[in-house]
C-alpha cells in the first residue's frame, strides 16, 4: 500500500458537469482529495494535452472465464479494459457454465478480485440461456447482479420475456431501490437462423446466408411493446439497424423506460467489409449497411443511444481461422473503443466521454463508484486520454489473449494514456502496470 498522494497534473478535467483546467490529487484511501489548478503530490502523472475523465464503463464485455480461458481470462480482459480506459466492465453471462446461478456468479466475483478493472457480473435471464425457465433473479440480485441478459441470443418467447420483465420489476428492494435492468440481444431466431452476415447486396454476391435487419427490428418492436405492458426497465444491446434506432427514439419520446447501446464496430464498419471473407468481420448482430452505420451514429449523437459498449468477444485464432461461415461471431474491442469513438463519431470530446462513462454507469447502476463527477471525496476511478495521439492498431500488441480485431493496421487518433483504479494507476503511459 502506498501511503502517499498521487497528482494528475496538467490536464483538462471533463465530467458530466463540464470541463475545466485542473490538477487532480488522489489520497491513499483511493478517493479524490482535491481538484484545482496548481496542485502537486508525492507521485505524479503527466496529463498535459490530455483529458482527465471519469473511468469508462463497458456494459458489454465477454471475459470468457469460466470456460474459455484460452481465448481470454478475467485477468487478461481486465488489463485490456484498463488499457482502453475502462475502470468497470459488465461481464456477459455466456460463459461455460453459464452465469445463471449464485455459484458461477460468485466464482466470477472471486476471480475478479485484484484485477485491473472492476468487474460487475451480469446474469442470464433464463436457465443456461435456453429461453425456457427463469434464472433465480432474486438470489442473483442479492449478490449484486444488476443487469440480466441472455446475450448471444434473445429471449424468443414473448410470454417468458413478459414474465421476466414483471418479475425483475418487482425486485428493486434487492438493489438499493434502483430498478434491475433486463438487457436484450434482439434477434428473432427463426428469421436469423443460419445467417452469417447481414442479408443484402453483399450476402447475395458473396453467396452467404444472411440475417435480415428485420430479425433485429422485430424483437426491438416486440420488446418496446412489452416494456409498455410491464413498465420495467429494458436495455437494448448493440443496436445495429436504422429501423431499431428509429423505434427506440420513438419509444423514448413516448416516455418508456428503455435505453440502448451501440458498439464501435457498428458505427464504423459496414457489410462490404465481409467481401474478403475474413472472419475477423463476422459478428452478431452483423455489420449492416452504410445507411445503418449513419443511423447508429445519429442515434449516438442525439442521445437515442445512451452508451457505447464494446461487445468485446475474444476468440482464439484456431477458432477464427475458419471459413467465414464456420467461424464464431465476435471481435475484440476494449482497447479500440475510445479511439474509434474519438476518431469516427465527429462528436465533441465531452459527449464521447459521456457515452463511454457516466451514461453507461447510470444504466449499470454503478454511478456511485464509476463515471461520477470528478470532485473531492469521489472514488478515484479515472482515465486520462490524449485525444490527438495517433497510433495504429495491432491485435498482437493488445492485452487480450485473442487477436481478433477487425481494425488491424488501422491508424486511429486518440489514445488512453493512464487509467487509475481506486486511486492506483493500472495503466501508465499506455502500459499496463497491473
Amino acid at each position: 500500500m502506498s501511503s502517499d498522494t498521487l497528482a494528475i497534473r496538467g490536464g483538462t478535467v471533463v465530467d458530466a458537469t463540464g470541463s475545466r483546467r485542473a490538477d487532480v490529487i488522489v489520497g491513499e484511501d483511493g478517493r479524490i482529495l482535491a481538484v484545482e489548478p496548481g496542485l502537486d503530490g508525492d507521485r505524479s502523472l503527466d496529463a498535459s494535452g490530455c483529458i482527465v475523465a471519469p473511468g469508462f464503463v463497458d456494459l458489454h464485455t465477454h471475459l470468457r472465464q469460466p470456460g474459455h480461458e484460452e481465448a481470454e481470462t478475467i485477468e487478461s480482459a481486465a488489463r485490456g479494459a484498463a488499457l482502453g480506459g475502462f475502470t468497470a466492465v459488465v461481464a456477459m453471462p455466456n460463459t461455460t457454465p453459464t452465469m445463471d446461478s449464485a455459484a458461477v456468479v460468485r466464482e466470477v466475483q472471486e476471480l475478479a478480485v485484484g484485477v485491473a478493472c472492476e468487474v460487475f457480473p451480469s446474469a442470464a435471464i433464463t436457465v443456461d440461456r435456453r429461453g425456457e425457465a427463469l434464472a433465480p433473479m432474486a438470489e442473483l440480485a442479492r449478490l449484486g447482479v444488476r443487469i440480466f441478459t441472455d446475450d448471444g441470443s434473445g429471449v424468443q418467447n414473448e410470454r417468458l420475456m413478459r414474465t421476466a420483465l414483471e418479475y425483475a420489476g418487482s425486485l428493486s428492494h434487492l438493489s438499493d431501490g434502483q430498478p434491475l435492468v433486463l438487457a436484450q440481444h434482439c434477434e428473432v431466431d427463426s428469421l436469423a437462423k443460419g445467417g452469417v452476415m447481414h442479408e443484402g447486396e453483399w450476402s447475395s454476391l458473396l453467396g452467404m446466408p444472411g440475417q435480415p435487419a428485420e430479425a433485429e427490428e422485430l424483437m426491438v418492436m416486440r420488446d418496446i411493446a412489452l416494456a409498455r405492458l410491464t413498465g420495467t426497465r429494458l436495455h437494448f444491446q448493440h443496436l445495429s439497424t436504422a429501423g431499431s434506432v428509429a423505434m427506440v427514439r420513438a419509444a423514448k419520446q413516448a416516455g418508456l423506460p428503455v435505453s440502448a447501446e451501440a458498439t464501435p464496430h457498428h458505427f464504423t464498419l459496414d457489410h462490404s467489409s465481409c467481401a474478403g471473407f475474413d472472419s475477423a468481420f463476422k459478428v452478431h448482430p452483423p455489420l449492416r449497411t452504410v445507411e445503418d452505420v449513419a443511423a447508429v451514429k445519429a442515434g449516438l449523437a442525439d442521445g437515442t443511444i445512451d452508451a457505447i459498449a464494446t461487445d468485446h468477444a475474444p476468440h482464439t485464432s484456431q477458432d477464427k481461422d475458419r471459413p467465414f461461415g464456420e467461424a464464431p461471431p465476435g471481435m475484440i474491442g476494449l482497447e479500440t473503443a475510445f479511439t474509434l469513438a474519438n476518431s469516427e463519431l465527429g462528436l465533441p470530446i465531452e459527449q464521447v466521454i459521456g457515452l463511454l462513462s457516466w451514461r453507461p454507469a447510470a444504466i449499470a447502476g454503478i454511478h456511485g463508484r464509476h463515471g461520477g463527477p470528478i470532485v473531492e471525496g469521489a472514488a478515484a476511478n479515472l482515465t486520462v486520454v490524449d485525444p490527438d495521439a495517433e497510433w495504429s492498431v495491432s491485435g498482437a500488441a493488445m492485452a487480450s489473449r485473442s487477436t481478433n480485431t477487425p481494425f488491424e493496421g488501422r491508424k486511429l487518433r486518440g489514445r488512453v494514456r493512464h487509467t487509475i483504479l481506486d486511486g492506483e494507476p493500472v495503466v501508465i503511459d499506455n502500459l499496463a502496470v497491473r
Partner: protein, 317 residues
C-alpha cells in the same frame, strides 16, 4: 487473374480479355484430348493437391483428368478418411499439405470464401472448384466455351438461368461470366429461390419463364436441391417443375438453335423433363467433355510458365 494471376477464386477475377484468352487456350487443349495419346508434358514436375470437403464426382474427375493430361503429379486429400474428420482445422490441413511441397491446391468447400482464406495461409496457387453458394469459376468457363462453340460470339445472346439461383454457385459464376462476354442474362425463378438482393448484378429478373422462353439462345437449368422442398421454399417439386421446369411444351418453344444446358447432375423430371434432356440441342455431355480442356487451360495458366507464354503454342505442342 486476381492476386497477381496466381489464383482462380471467382469469375470476378476475370475480365473479358482474360476469358477470351482462356477460351482460346482451351481450344488447343481440346485438340490434345483428341489425340491417340492425349498427354502433353506442360506441367511435368508440378504437384497439385485435391482438397474436396464436399462430395464431388464429376468436377474432381474432370480436374484429375486435366492434370494427368498435363503430366502433373497429383495427390488427393480425401476428407472422409483424413484429419479433417478428426477435428483438424482447415488451416492446419492446408499448411500440412503445403509443407509437402505443392504448386497448386484445387479446393471445394461447403463454405463460401474457403478458397480465399486458404490463399492467406499458403503460397500455392488456389483454384476454386466450388465454394458454398458463392462461385464455381471453372464451371462458368466450360459453359462459356460450350456456348461459344455452338453460338459463336456471345455478344447480345440471351441466356436464362433458371431455378434455384439463390443457393447456386454455378448461377453466380455464370451470371457474371456470360454478362462479361456481352450476353444478356435473365434470372428466372420464384423470389424464394432468388438472392435477397440483386443490386450490382448485370442481370434482369423474371418470375415467369414463359415470358422469356421464346427469346432465348440458351436455357440454362440449375440443379434443384431436393431438400429445398423441406425448407418450404417451394411447395412441391411437382409445382416447381410445372412453373420453372423445362418440360416438352416449353422446350418446343425454344428456337431451333437454342441450347439447353445444365451443370449436372440432373434431376430428370424436376428442373428438366427426361426426354428434353436427351434432345440434340441439350449439350450436357459436351459441357462435361469441355470441362477437361477448360481445366487444362486453367491449370496450365496458373501453374505453367505463366500468362506470357499463352500465345506460345509450343508450350502446348
Amino acid at each position: 487473374m486476381n492476386r497477381s494471376n496466381r489464383h482462380l477464386l471467382s469469375m470476378t477475377d476475370l475480365d473479358r480479355a482474360d476469358i477470351e484468352q482462356l477460351l482460346t487456350l482451351t481450344e488447343s487443349f481440346a485438340e490434345v484430348g483428341e489425340r491417340p495419346i492425349p498427354k502433353v508434358p506442360a506441367l511435368r514436375g508440378k504437384t497439385i493437391a485435391w482438397l474436396f470437403y464436399e462430395d464431388s464426382t464429376r468436377t474432381r474427375l474432370s480436374f484429375e483428368t486435366a492434370a494427368k493430361r498435363l503430366s502433373a503429379d497429383t495427390m488427393n486429400f480425401s476428407v472422409s478418411s483424413s484429419a479433417a474428420n478428426k477435428g483438424e482445422s482447415l488451416r492446419d490441413t492446408v499448411e500440412t499439405i503445403a509443407a509437402m511441397g505443392i504448386d497448386g491446391i484445387v479446393v471445394r468447400h461447403r463454405s463460401a470464401g474457403a478458397p480465399h482464406r486458404i490463399t492467406d495461409w499458403v503460397d500455392a496457387s488456389v483454384i476454386n472448384a466450388g465454394d458454398g453458394w458463392h462461385q464455381h469459376p471453372t464451371q462458368a468457363l466450360l459453359d462459356l466455351y460450350t456456348a461459344r462453340e455452338h453460338l459463336g460470339d456471345l455478344d447480345g445472346k440471351h441466356i436464362a438461368i433458371v431455378g434455384d439461383v439463390k443457393h447456386s454457385r454455378v448461377a453466380r459464376s455464370n451470371a457474371l461470366g456470360f454478362a462479361e462476354m456481352g450476353a444478356k442474362v435473365t434470372l428466372v425463378g420464384p423470389r424464394t429461390l432468388m438472392p435477397p438482393s440483386l443490386v450490382g448484378w448485370p442481370v434482369e429478373v423474371t418470375h415467369d419463364l414463359d415470358e422469356v422462353i421464346d427469346d432465348l439462345d440458351i436455357c440454362y437449368l440449375l440443379r434443384m436441391q431436393l431438400e429445398r422442398q423441406k425448407d418450404a421454399v417451394v411447395p412441391t417439386l411437382r409445382e416447381f417443375h410445372t412453373e420453372y421446369g423445362l418440360g416438352v411444351a416449353r422446350a418446343d418453344r425454344l428456337g431451333g438453335d437454342a441450347l439447353i444446358m445444365h451443370p449436372g447432375p440432373m434431376n430428370r423430371g424436376v428442373e428438366i423433363a427426361g426426354s428434353v434432356a436427351d434432345r440434340p440441342n441439350a449439350v450436357v455431355t459436351e459441357q462435361v467433355t469441355n470441362g477437361v480442356a477448360i481445366r487444362m487451360a486453367v491449370l496450365f495458366l496458373l501453374l505453367g510458365s505463366g500468362l506470357d507464354v499463352v500465345d506460345d503454342q509450343r508450350a502446348v505442342a
